[in-house]
């Protein structure tokens, strides 16, 4: 069983995922529920961008990657058109 991430790692991870567009910004009035499935999907997309195995877990290598040098801009641009080669290949 993969080692459970510490509470601090989860908190840092969620902050990082929110900053780079993988999770919606928190809304104090809605305190929108972040289902574990949503968090897992967000982690998988981040792992794809980082070229990591898409485990959906905040495992140590994923946490370490969040500290790697990078561009400041978000990775997921909200409504922007996101074209995946896979979808194009299927077409």
């Amino acid at each position: 069983r993969a080692q459970e991430p510490s509470a601090q790692d989860v908190s840092l991870g969620v902050d990082w995922l929110t900053r780079y567009g993988y999770l919606p910004p928190p809304h104090p009035a809605q305190a929108q529920l972040q289902s574990p499935a949503k968090l897992r999907d967000a982690i998988k997309v981040m792992q794809r961008f980082a070229g990591l195995p898409e485990t959906g877990l905040l495992d140590p290598v994923t946490m370490a990657t969040m500290h790697r040098p990078r561009c400041s801009l978000p990775d997921v641009l909200g409504a922007a058109e996101l074209v995946r080669r896979r979808r194009r290949r299927r077409r």
Binding site: Y20, R48, F49, A50, P69, L77, V83, R84, R85
Partner: protein, 412 residues
């Protein structure tokens, strides 16, 4: 690949390195050369042309390149060495669109063998991808991957991956392929010095917003526009300055004749959301940013032939538009679309208001603000009597400027 949703309409973009790395081993010449080649990497695949302009150029470059530290007046403060390395702004009409910022606390290198430092060419190619409208990509060989992947080799041999080329061509179309046309690259020689403008072209330093003395001020769609000469600043409803650098008047207001050098007054017309810009005895009507029709005479709004205006504002309380010249004002009924009879009247009816104000506008909260010089007079919502503590310095409240008593502004 991912598209940001914005793209440059033109195919020749100007650029300039506005500030250089303070502590890098790279000379300014080498920094300019690497930027030149990083842009050329995108140019050969898209037909886009990039022109370096010097500091004395009369036009603001589309892509301004800065090396900055920590908080540098945009929403992406840097974090010291490591972490975030750089960012760029997507295409658009804002002054900051296309601008590219590198963290000056990184160790910027070129062609370092031991992987020491951060390869400036590789990061520059990535960031210029954003400046042209690309978002981040998850494709394994894309330069647009969010994480730094190390040097990409020799700048004049480097070619974009297929994923990046496809994203770029979505934005700017394919380059017409001539049979023997291979993307060529000039040897890595420093680019020619930026062309000096012809001696007679005026060099236009951008004005200092903290001096006040604006030509016109208007609340347009909730944003406050501050016009000065051929420039303007925008303040968002949150009070945040869109950019400390002004935008070009004629580049934003499409169709505004080049002969119009100064906007004397401006306001947004409530009934059809038209935006009226006044200059001399005429005004121009815009819908969004496009000019609608020919210029109109001020006589249509009730002023005598040849008269001009200092200030114009529309008062939501009574649906009337006030046109001020010196110590007098005329009034125009927006609903009836005709001037009110019995004008001009004396401006002293607005108790406490300064004569010949630079302009007047109504805030999103409904208060009326008279501006003159570096000060404003606030009239609470529905009142025609200025607040007792008027005037106040406008810089700190409106334009992110230091209080007037503070010492000279800190260097950039």
């Amino acid at each position: 690949y991912a598209l940001s949703g914005s793209v440059w309409k033109k195919r020749t973009l100007t650029w300039r390195v506005h500030s250089f790395p303070q502590s890098s081993a790279l000379s300014q010449e080498m920094v300019r050369t690497l930027m030149h080649h990083a842009l050329a990497t995108w140019g050969v695949e898209s037909g886009l042309k990039f022109q370096e302009v010097g500091f004395q150029s009369p036009t603001e470059p589309d892509i301004v390149i800065d090396f900055a530290r920590a908080y540098h007046q945009d929403s992406y403060p840097f974090d010291g060495q490591g972490g975030t390395l750089a960012h760029a702004f997507f295409p658009g009409e804002h002054a900051i669109s296309g601008d590219t910022h590198f963290d000056d606390e990184e160790i910027w290198t070129y062609g370092s063998k031991d992987g020491e430092g951060t390869d400036l060419f590789a990061v520059a190619v990535h960031e210029f991808g954003h400046a042209l409208g690309l978002g981040h990509s998850s494709a394994p060989d894309s330069i647009m991957r969010p994480f730094y992947q190390g040097p990409v080799g020799d700048p004049h041999k480097y070619r974009l991956s297929q994923d990046d080329r496809e994203g770029l061509q979505q934005l700017y179309g394919k380059v017409p392929q001539i049979p023997d046309d291979k993307p060529t690259r000039k040897p890595l020689a420093p680019p020619p010095p930026p062309p000096t403008p012809p001696p007679d072209s005026p060099s236009l330093p951008t004005p200092d917003r903290c001096e006040g003395n604006f030509d016109a001020i208007a609340n347009i769609r909730g944003e406050t526009f501050f016009f000065k000469g051929p420039w303007f600043w925008r303040v968002q409803p949150s009070g945040q300055l869109v950019s400390p650098r002004p935008a070009r008047l004629h580049r934003f207001w499409e169709g505004l004749p080049a002969g119009v050098k100064v906007i004397q007054a401006a306001y947004a017309r409530p009934r059809d959301r038209g935006i009226l810009l006044f200059s001399g005895p005429q005004f121009w009507v815009f819908q969004e940013r496009q000019l609608e029709g020919a210029p109109r005479p001020l006589t249509e709004l009730g002023l005598p032939a040849g008269e001009q205006v200092d200030a114009v504002f529309s008062w939501p309380l009574n649906g009337k538009t006030y046109l001020i010249r010196g110590g007098r004002y005329w009034r125009y009924d927006e609903a009836a679309a005709r001037p009110d009879p019995g004008y001009p009247r004396d401006l002293s009816l607005w108790e406490g208001a300064p004569d010949a104000p630079d302009d007047v506008t109504v805030s999103n909260a409904g208060d009326t603000y008279f501006f003159k010089g570096a000060h404003y007079w606030r009239f609470p919502k529905g009142s025609v009597k200025a607040e007792s503590d008027s005037p106040q310095p406008m810089g700190p409240k409106w334009l992110d400027c230091p209080a007037p008593s503070a010492g000279p502004r800190s260097p950039r």
